[in-house]
């Protein structure tokens, strides 16, 4: 970094000072404000900071923070790795991440789906990992078909970039398939409601039953699932040499995290880290920015699950304690959550029947109307604490969307 122009060095230094002040003021980790100041002083700062490093961009609707963390952990044998561990996944966050690790040769950057083209252009990242696309916060997010189209154009213009992509997701496959090189990973797709039509021609997709490693093809055109080099099968991954790699040691729960782990293994293999070396490093990750954390409160053990959209709720249901284990749900509709709560009707809540369910959050009445229509018994509480104190001492699963999750996490201890 010492060969940065003077203006860029100044931009980095001022950004760092601003970030520190923001932290001291208790306003988060400061990575956004730091990066914003840096970019204002030097608009090409991201390009300069990315120069001569090997970077991975990680993008998806769900799982990008977790997968970024898994990849970063598995890359430690290569030396220092720069990363935006706090989920600041836009260029301001990328600038902060790279500026704070000036000597790191490697970087793993979580990237908001919309920003993939810009960040790819500015960083020339050598690797891009693309995992899944589904409906998410429609009042502010881009339409996903359009988004995948932008990925296609960006990858076509970046011939030096290799892609690791989930070929079980048809829209991701379409978005990735203009890259000059792709490693296809059959990483599974559980939410299918956004992929019944061919992204190429709009024709009907014929899809095999089974949530993992199941084939699909367009009935009208040539577009079909590519042959995967890596494939997730339940609790193990098969690598390109046909070796079975057990994922039993992964601490993060559920099929979504086995899928994230499969992608991480394929990414680090590209940098020469073999699965047997990567696996124990993946197993060290126990919670990610408070997700999957358990907190103790008044004899209750709360496990915090973040779910922001229908596909995410499906994954959260997958890791619940078996019925009749109690569940507390909390939904807000502030800016970061999406202000439109219609998506609650895309989630099939019937799985919650037969267990105590507590409903809280600013939009608890929306959730109550939804659960009532699904014939789920529930109790509405005005304050989340009432839910906690209503269950007997023991385990309580908590599913919340973004700001509701942050509220609960702040209240019961910020365990990272």
């Amino acid at each position: 970094m010492s060969d940065l122009p003077l203006r860029s060095q100044l931009a980095v230094a001022l950004g760092r000072t601003a970030a520190k002040m923001s932290r001291l003021a208790g306003k988060g980790d400061g990575s956004v404000i730091g990066g914003r100041i840096g970019l204002r002083l030097d608009p090409e700062l991201l390009t300069r900071l990315a120069k001569d490093r090997k970077l991975v961009l990680v993008s998806a609707t769900n799982g990008k923070t977790t997968t970024t963390r898994l990849i970063t952990s598995a890359m430690t044998p290569l030396g220092e790795v720069a990363t935006n561990a706090f989920g600041a996944n836009m260029p301001t966050g990328h600038v902060s991440a790279l500026a704070s690790a000036p000597s790191a040769q490697y970087g793993v950057l979580e990237c908001d789906e919309k920003y993939v083209p810009q960040v790819l252009r500015e960083t020339g990242a050598s690797l891009v990992a693309l995992m899944n696309l589904s409906r998410d916060q429609m009042d502010r997010a881009a339409e996903i078909w359009q988004l995948a189209g932008k990925w296609r154009r960006a990858l076509a213009e970046s011939p030096g970039t290799h892609v690791i992509a989930n070929c079980d997701d048809p829209l991701v496959t379409w978005g990735a398939s203009t890259a000059s090189g792709v490693t296809w990973v059959a990483a599974g797709q559980h939410w299918r409601e956004d992929s019944w039509c061919c992204p190429e021609c709009g024709g009907p997709l014929d899809r095999q039953e089974g949530e993992e490693n199941s084939d699909w093809a367009c009935r009208q055109c040539h577009f079909r699932r590519p042959t995967p080099q890596w494939a997730l099968h339940g609790d193990h991954v098969v690598d390109p040499h046909g070796r079975q790699i057990p994922l039993g040691g992964i601490q993060l729960p559920g099929r979504a995290n086995r899928s994230n782990a499969a992608i991480a293994l394929a990414v680090v293999a590209q940098f020469g880290v073999p699965p047997e070396q990567a696996l124990p490093l993946l197993a060290q990750v126990k919670s990610v920015a408070g997700r999957y954390t358990t907190v103790e409160h008044q004899g209750r053990t709360l496990r915090l699950l973040l779910s922001k959209n229908p596909a995410g709720w499906l994954e959260a249901f997958d890791v619940l304690q078996p019925a009749p284990g109690p569940v507390a749900l909390s939904v807000n509709a502030q800016g970061p959550d999406g202000r439109d709560t219609s998506w609650l009707w895309d989630v099939d809540y019937r799985i919650l029947r037969g267990r105590p369910v507590f409903v809280s959050g600013e939009r608890r009445i929306d959730l109550a109307a939804r659960l009532e229509a699904a014939d789920v018994q529930f109790t509405v509480v005005d304050d989340f604490e009432q839910a906690v104190m209503s269950v007997p001492p023991g385990h309580l699963d908590v599913i919340a969307n973004y700001t509701a999750f942050q509220d609960i996490r702040t209240r019961y201890g910020r365990v990272v």
Partner: protein
């Protein structure tokens, strides 16, 4: 008694169901069943022919490209036209609302032909309308004030054969400068409101059911939907008053 069963056809959820549109289907089924009316629901994929014998047809919201595909397929299929000729009820939201009209704006703003079942014309507006919407329903429909959430680039002008569904109190609605939200013509009703609209507005759900069954329906005990409607109306209208 005209019928104690009802057939609901949800048109093309594989193309048009981006905004929780399933909720409208669920709430119609539920409010019929609570009155002892049996329901049959068809989730019709876009590669299947539209059955002409449905009582209610539902169309939801979608992205530009799926909207164009859905319009093409419904035009070629012709089943929805036959159903409407037979007196079927249609309830359509957002992209589905636009499809029912004579034309709508495509992804580059180009005019795309619609189905011509509802006398409206839609086109690409200047800015995206995103947010809560509250409106006063046309008095002849006998439905109290409605609440929903809108998210659309398109604007819609109502022709002489259709009538405004409601007058906007807060939000944008049709966005053609007339201050209306939605349109209806006979038993075809279109709106920009998700929420979903029939969940948030039980009286509107009952209007759709009564059109489909051809008779008035006995009231149901209040549900969480009524609470939701009241909460949304007061949250939105108090915020709107606070601004002025």
């Amino acid at each position: 008694m005209s019928s104690d069963r009802i057939k609901i056809v949800w048109i093309y959820p594989d193309l048009l169901s981006t905004y929780g549109d399933q909720g409208n289907t669920i709430v119609l089924e539920r409010r019929a069943q609570l009155r002892g009316i049996a329901t049959e629901t068809v989730h019709l994929r876009s590669d299947e022919p539209v059955p002409p014998d449905g009582d209610v047809y539902l169309l939801g919201g979608g992205e530009d490209r799926p909207q164009i595909l859905a319009a093409q397929r419904l035009r070629n299929d012709g089943g929805l036209h036959r159903a409407v000729q037979n007196g079927a009820t249609v309830f359509a939201v957002c992209a589905g609302y636009q499809i029912l009209g004579h034309e709508f704006g495509g992804e580059e703003g180009q005019p795309v032909p619609g189905l011509g079942l509802l006398d409206i014309r839609s086109y690409r507006g200047q800015t995206r309308a995103v947010g809560e919407v509250v409106s006063e329903v046309a008095s002849e429909l006998n439905v109290p004030r409605v609440t929903g959430f809108e998210n659309h680039m398109g604007a819609t002008a109502i022709g002489p054969n259709a009538r405004p569904f409601s007058k906007v109190l807060s939000g944008v609605g049709n966005g053609d400068g007339q201050g209306f939200e939605g349109a209806y013509q006979g038993r075809i009703l279109g709106t920009y409101m998700h929420g979903p609209a029939l969940v948030r507005n039980p009286a509107l759900a009952d209007l759709v059911l009564s059109w489909a069954l051809g008779r008035d329906l006995p009231p149901l005990p209040p549900s969480w939907s009524e609470r939701l409607r009241e909460e949304r109306l007061s949250a939105v209208l108090s915020a709107a008053n606070g601004q002025t």
